[in-house]
Structures are given as C-alpha cells and as structure tokens.
C-alpha cells in the first residue's frame, strides 16, 4: 500500500472536521454566544463566587496569579479566593502566607496529596459561593474575565463554563509555538461549546455551579487529568459545558521540550485512559452524539493519524535525503543548487499537497479568529511561523510517548 493510500483517509477526516467546524461556527448557537458579553450581568446583581488556587511548587508565579485575581473587575464582597498549598517543597507556602490577611483570601496548607485533593478542600471551604472556579497557580486572569464567565452562566442549563486560554508573554520558541496552538484552541472551544461538545474544563479558570459539584461528588485523581474527568462526568450526567469566549486567562507555557513533552503526555494519556477505560460509554453515546460520534472518536483518530502521517513524512524525507546524498557525490555540490527557469509544468501539485494547503489555511484562519474574537493580546503571525516549522515535528513526540505509556501501563508523572 502506497503512502498516499494511507494518508488519504486521515486528510479527508481532517477536512471533514474543518468543514464541521465552519458550519458550526456559522450556526446560530455559536453566533449567539459571540454576541453575548459582560454587560449582560450588571455589577449590582453579580452572584457570590469563589476561586480556588491549588499550588504545588509555584513560588515564582503564584503571587502574580493572586494579584491578577485581586484585580478582577468584580465586587470584592462577592468574590473570595482560596489558596491551597499542596505540600510545596519550595517557597510557595511563604508566598501565599503573604496574602493570608487579605479579607478576600483564605490561605491553607496541607500535606502533598495531588492537585485534586487540594481542589476538593477548596470546594469544602467555598460554602457560600454559587459558582466555584479554579485557577492554576501559573496562570493570570484579565480584569473582566470573571464577569464574562458569570455572564455566560446566564444561558439556561449550563453547569460549567470554560475560559479562553492563551500563553502568558511567550518568550521561547516553544512558547511561541504554543501561543499559536492556544489561539486555535480558543476557536475550537468556542465552536464545540455551542453544541455541548467539550470534554475538558481546563485548570485555568473553569467554573462550575456549586450545586453541580455537590451532585457529582469530589474531583478524582483521574490519571492526572482531573479537569478532563470532571468534564466527562458532567457530560455523562447530562450537563452542559459552556465557554466564555472573551474571558481571557494567560498561562505560563512550558519553556523547554522535555517539560512540554511531559505536560502533553500527561494530557494525552489522561485523554486516552479516560476515554478508553473510565468513560468508554461516552464513545458512540446517543445521549451526546457530538461527543460520542464526532469529537471523542476524532480525538482518537487524530492521535493515530498524527503518528502515522509523521512516520510517512519522515520516511519520505529520509528517502529523499538519502537519494540527494547519493547524488551529491556524483557531481559538484553547486550543480544541485543551480536555479532552473520557472515553469508551471514542474509545480509539485498533488491531491495531498492541495488538501494539505486547504487544511493549513483553514487552521490559520481559525487561529486568527480565536485570537481576535477573544481579544487576546500579542502578535499571531511570527508565532504562527514558529508553529508551522515546529508543531509537526514535536507533537508526534508526545503522541508516541502517550501511546507507549498507555500500552505499557506506565505511570505518567506530573512534571
């Protein structure tokens, strides 16, 4: 079987996915959500909200996280912050103690037990809140983000609301790549929230109705993907998860490749283990066909396809390289770089190339829409170029790593 024959099904599925995105983006539920804004909820009628910040060895960032929460444009008597030091071994405890006397803040210390245990303690403390949110201690919120979140809860039937995440001040090459990737994720989350297709309520600034958390029970270890597990639990119980497009939250992306691979391996193994084992009933579920027939199956296909296409591309690249190297010694090297007159005849246009072009172009458009609709600051174009150059090379590393972890039953590390 030729490599093209293996590639065609995956690129067609990708094209179908992009087409579905387009149609759903233009459908009335997504349009209505784009028109919804913070002005829906006046300041005087804002509900009681608690934000829980679980911290583990975050001394460098947690102060900024808390300060961004204190700067939220929200009545101070209706917002409480619960900071929980989950047995940090660095100076995190001392940093959160600096905020302990603030009237809005409760600072707690506990032995290390995992993020989900810290989150559950926070939920126990947030007894008077109507909505409970979480913010990772390496993330920072925009001042109007909470009002955007609360406004989204005005939609009937929503049990949880996610925010629009982006990378905080991208510096390294890998952070720049993630900036473009997160811009795409903003659009994806917006589109799939409009048809209740979200399967993760990310750590940075996702909110839940307190009544729903009480109904569903505490967070679980869930293969280190407690945010994914809770979202799947919500979906299994028939709840809906929304998205506040303009609720901006900025997170510190991993700076080095090993850190990035470790983070993504945790996410991907969490997805695989939850979907394939703990929440297998969501696959092909008629109760939520968006998740059951489209998003979860395509998530699995994307992992397999990503690895397969990477190996096909790698094989073809290696073959071409070997061929070039074998010819390199035949004639002077300068001959290989001789420019030939342009002719349309030699344009390397094939079905795979053209569909790949359409997919790439549409991805760029989604990224641009994600950035602009959420009003995320920063420049997309330079980061987009980094994304083009790197993502196809580095993403397969964590995809392969994740498959290997799940197949061998390896315990995935947090950091």
């Amino acid at each position: 079987m030729g490599s093209d024959a293996l590639t065609y099904p995956f690129i067609f599925i990708a094209l179908y996915f992009e087409s579905f995105m387009l149609v759903t983006f233009l459908s009335s539920p997504a349009r209505a959500r784009r028109e919804c804004g913070a002005t829906v909820v006046p300041l005087e009628s804002t509900p009681q909200v608690a934000v829980i910040v679980p911290c583990w060895n975050e001394e460098a960032t947690v102060a900024g996280t808390v300060e961004s929460l204190l700067a939220l444009d929200y009545p101070v008597d209706r917002l409480s912050l619960i900071l929980i030091n989950d047995g940090s071994t660095d100076g995190t405890g001392a940093v959160i103690d600096r905020f302990a006397l603030h009237p809005q803040i409760t600072a707690l210390h506990k032995e290390n037990g995992g993020k989900y245990t810290a989150m559950n303690i926070g939920v126990d403390y947030a007894k008077d809140a109507e909505f409970i949110g979480f913010l990772d201690a390496d993330s920072f919120v925009a001042p109007d983000s909470l009002r955007e979140i609360v406004a989204s809860f005005a939609e009937p039937g929503l049990s949880a609301v996610t925010a629009s995440m982006s990378i905080h001040e991208p510096q390294t090459i890998l952070q720049r790549m993630q900036y473009a990737e997160y811009s795409l994720a903003i659009t994806l989350r917006h589109v799939f929230a409009s048809i209740n297709g979200l399967y993760v309520t990310p750590g940075p600034f996702s909110f839940y109705r307190r009544s729903v958390l009480r109904e569903l029970g505490p967070f679980k270890h869930a293969h280190l993907a407690e945010d994914m597990e809770m979202a799947m639990r919500l979906q299994r119980a028939g709840h809906s998860i929304g998205n506040a497009l303009r609720a901006r939250v900025y997170t510190k992306g991993p700076t080095t490749l090993p850190k990035l691979v470790k983070q993504r391996t945790r996410w991907t193994t969490g997805f695989l283990r939850n979907v394939l084992f703990d929440y297998r009933d969501l696959l092909w579920s008629r109760q939520n066909p968006v998740l059951g027939f489209l998003i979860l199956p395509l998530g699995l296909v994307a992992i397999v396809g990503g690895i397969l296409i990477f190996f096909i591309a790698l094989t073809e690249f290696a073959q071409r390289l070997l061929h070039m190297l074998s010819l390199a010694g035949v004639a002077p090297l300068s001959y290989a770089f001789t420019l030939h007159p342009f002719s349309w005849f030699y344009l390397p246009i094939t079905t795979v190339v053209l569909i790949g072009f359409v997919l790439t172009l549409s991805t760029f458009i989604w990224m641009s829409l994600g950035k602009n609709l959420s009003k995320t600051p920063g420049r997309l174009l330079p980061n987009l170029l980094v994304y083009i150059m790197l993502y196809g090379i580095v993403a397969p590393v964590w995809l392969i790593n994740s498959i290997s972890h799940v197949a061998r039953g390896t315990r995935t590390a947090w950091r």
Partner: protein
C-alpha cells in the same frame, strides 16, 4: 433533525465538494501536462521532419542546417526533463506517458541519425552519448547517478549530445537500435562516440570515457 445531524451532513457535503474539486484540479493539471508534452513533441516532430527534408534538399551543402539541429537537440533535452517529471508524477505505467516516451525515443533516434549524417557530411566531430537506463525497480541501481552525471555534463557542456533511452520500452525502432549496438542488460550502458561501456562508478570515470579534449570543445571541426 438536530443541529448536530444537520451540520454533520452539510460538513460532509462540503468536504466531499472540496475533495472532488481538488481531485478534478489535479487531474486537469496532469492532463495539461500531457497536452503540453504532446504539443512539444508534435512541434519537435515537425522540426525533425523539416530538418530531415532540409538535409535531403541541401545534399550539396548540408552543413547549413546544422545550427537548427543543435537547437533541436537542446529542445529534445528539455522535453526529456519534462517527460521524466511527468513519469514521476503519473507513474511509469501510465499509458499516455508510455506513448509519449515512445514518441520521444523515436525523435531522439531520428535526431541522432540526422546528426550522424551531418557530422559525416560537414566534417564535424560532435560528442554523442547514447545512454540506456532502466527505471524498473531493482534492475539498475546506478541509473539515477548516471542520469544525474549526464545531466550535469550536458548542463556544463551544452554542445554535448545526450540521448537517453529506456531499455525496457517496447518500441521496434529502439529494439533495433539496441540490437545494432549490441547493448545487453548490464545497465546503465553508454555508447560514447561509438565506444561501448557499462556501469557507473563516478563522474571522473565517466569523463574518462570521452575522447580526449572532447569535454572542453565538444564540436571540433576538422578539415576534410
């Protein structure tokens, strides 16, 4: 019908529409490539026939047509490059590619013969390489290298006349040429100014096969 079902169906129609359009566009482009090759071949066919006719008409002074012959050889080389690219894109078993290769081989043989006659009549000594290759998998490990070396030599010394032939092409005239030159299937095989050799080791070894000084001045006129 639910929103999801409606969107899923519309998305399928869009995806199929885009795929169909792209497949049609690529097919159209490939047809255009074949048409372009066919047009070039038709033109070259006319030019070759014209040269042949000129040669017959000017039996007394045939050397006046030699400039045209050189131009034709260069155009043949360009056609060969395009044909090789089309073969890569469409596959060596594509019937249209095979038909075009047959026409191309005939043009090459015709050009070779005319040039041979011109050289004899005008007293020139052009350096001519007949190159036999195979692109059947496993039959000629060094054909890529040999073809690349000859392309380099032809680019560097434009007056060098290189005629490439697919050894396995099922064409009567080519089979006759192979039989006359006694080329066996030890490929790549070369006939450089009538001298036979086979196999490829390096550009330097290939250059040694050429007459002394031929690669510096490939068309040395001699007085009769």
């Amino acid at each position: 019908m639910s929103l999801f079902t409606r969107n899923a169906i519309i998305a399928l129609v869009i995806a199929l529409g885009i795929t169909g359009t792209i497949i049609y566009a690529v097919s159209y482009l490939n047809r255009a490539r074949i048409a372009e090759l066919s047009t070039i071949e038709d033109q070259l066919s006319i030019d070759t026939l014209s040269l042949d006719t000129q040669f017959s008409l000017l039996e007394a002074a045939p050397c006046e047509s030699s400039a045209t012959s050189t131009t034709l050889t260069s155009e043949l080389s360009d056609l060969g490059n395009r044909l090789s690219y089309a073969e890569d894109q469409l596959g060596s078993d594509n019937q249209q590619v095979i038909r075009l290769k047959e026409q191309y081989s005939l043009l090459e043989i015709r050009d070779y013969l005319i040039n041979k006659q011109l050289a004899a009549a005008c007293g020139t000594k052009p350096v001519t390489v007949l190159y036999f290759y195979s692109n059947k998998k496993g039959t000629c490990a060094d054909c890529d290298k040999a073809g690349y070396a000859l392309s380099y030599l032809h680019t560097t010394y434009p007056a060098l006349r290189v005629y490439s032939f697919d050894y396995n092409l099922d064409l009567g005239a080519l089979k006759t040429l192979i039989a006359l030159l006694k080329i066996d299937n030890d490929l790549p095989a070369f006939v450089i100014n009538g001298k036979h050799s086979s196999g490829f080791t390096s550009l330097a070894d290939l250059e040694k096969q050429f007459p002394k000084g031929a690669l510096a001045t490939t068309t040395t006129p001699t007085k009769k």
